[in-house]
Symmetry: C2
Subunit: 115 residues, 2 copies
C-alpha cells in the first residue's frame, strides 16, 4: 500500500479518494454491534449525497446509476461515522441500520460461510 495518509480529504475536496478509480468500495458496519452488513460502491457524487443527506447512496455497477439504500424497502442507513483508509481508496461507514441490510431479508449480506 502507498503511504497517502497526509492526503487532505474534506467534504469540499473528495477527489483524492477517487484518484485511482471512479468507484471505491464502501464497507457498511452496524454501529450497534459492529457487524459488517454489506459492501457497496460509491463514486464522488454518491459520497457527496451520503455526506449531505446523512444516509447512504451508492453507485450500482449493474444498473449504472445512483441508488439510495432504502429508497424502495425503507431500510435506510443513517450515517453515524465515516472513515477512509491509509491509502485513501476505501471507505468504512458506520451506520444505524433500519431493518435488514440485505435484499434477502437477512440482517447482513454475509450469511454464506465458506470456511
Amino acid at each position: 500500500m502507498e503511504n497517502n495518509e497526509n492526503t487532505a480529504v474534506t467534504r469540499e475536496n473528495l477527489a483524492p479518494l477517487f484518484a485511482k478509480s471512479e468507484l471505491i468500495p464502501a464497507i457498511i458496519q452496524d454501529i450497534e454491534n459492529n457487524d459488517v452488513l454489506m459492501l457497496g460502491y460509491m463514486n464522488e457524487e454518491s459520497l457527496g449525497l451520503t455526506l449531505d443527506t446523512g444516509r447512504t447512496w451508492f453507485y450500482s455497477r449493474s444498473r449504472k446509476k445512483l441508488w439510495n439504500k432504502g429508497e424502495t424497502s425503507g431500510h435506510f442507513q443513517d450515517v453515524r461515522e465515516l472513515w477512509y483508509d491509509c491509502d485513501a481508496d476505501t471507505l468504512l461507514i458506520r451506520v444505524f441500520q433500519h431493518g435488514p441490510a440485505c435484499h434477502t431479508g437477512s440482517r447482513s449480506c454475509f450469511f454464506n460461510r465458506l470456511a
Copy 2:
C-alpha cells in the same frame, strides 16, 4: 444486487466468486473486537492459498502479484472464519491479527475520519 445465494461455492469450486471480476474485495475483520482492520483484493489463486494455509494472501493491484500479509512484517492474519455475501462477489474474513494490520503501525487502516 442479484439474488445468487444458491450459488454453490466450495474449496473445489471457487469460480462463482470470480464470475464477474477476477479480483474481489476481502474485508478483514478482527475476531477479537469486530473492528474492521483493512480491505484487500483477492483473485482465485490468492483465495485458494488463504484457505489452504489458514493465513491471508492478497493480490496487489499496484505490484501485480500475490502477497502474503505479514510475510515481511510478521503481522500475519490467522483466518478464523470466511464468509461471502448474498451476490457472491465480496468476502468477509474474520481473523486473529498478529500486531498492527496497517503498514503505518496503526492497528486498523481506517484511522482517518471524514465525518
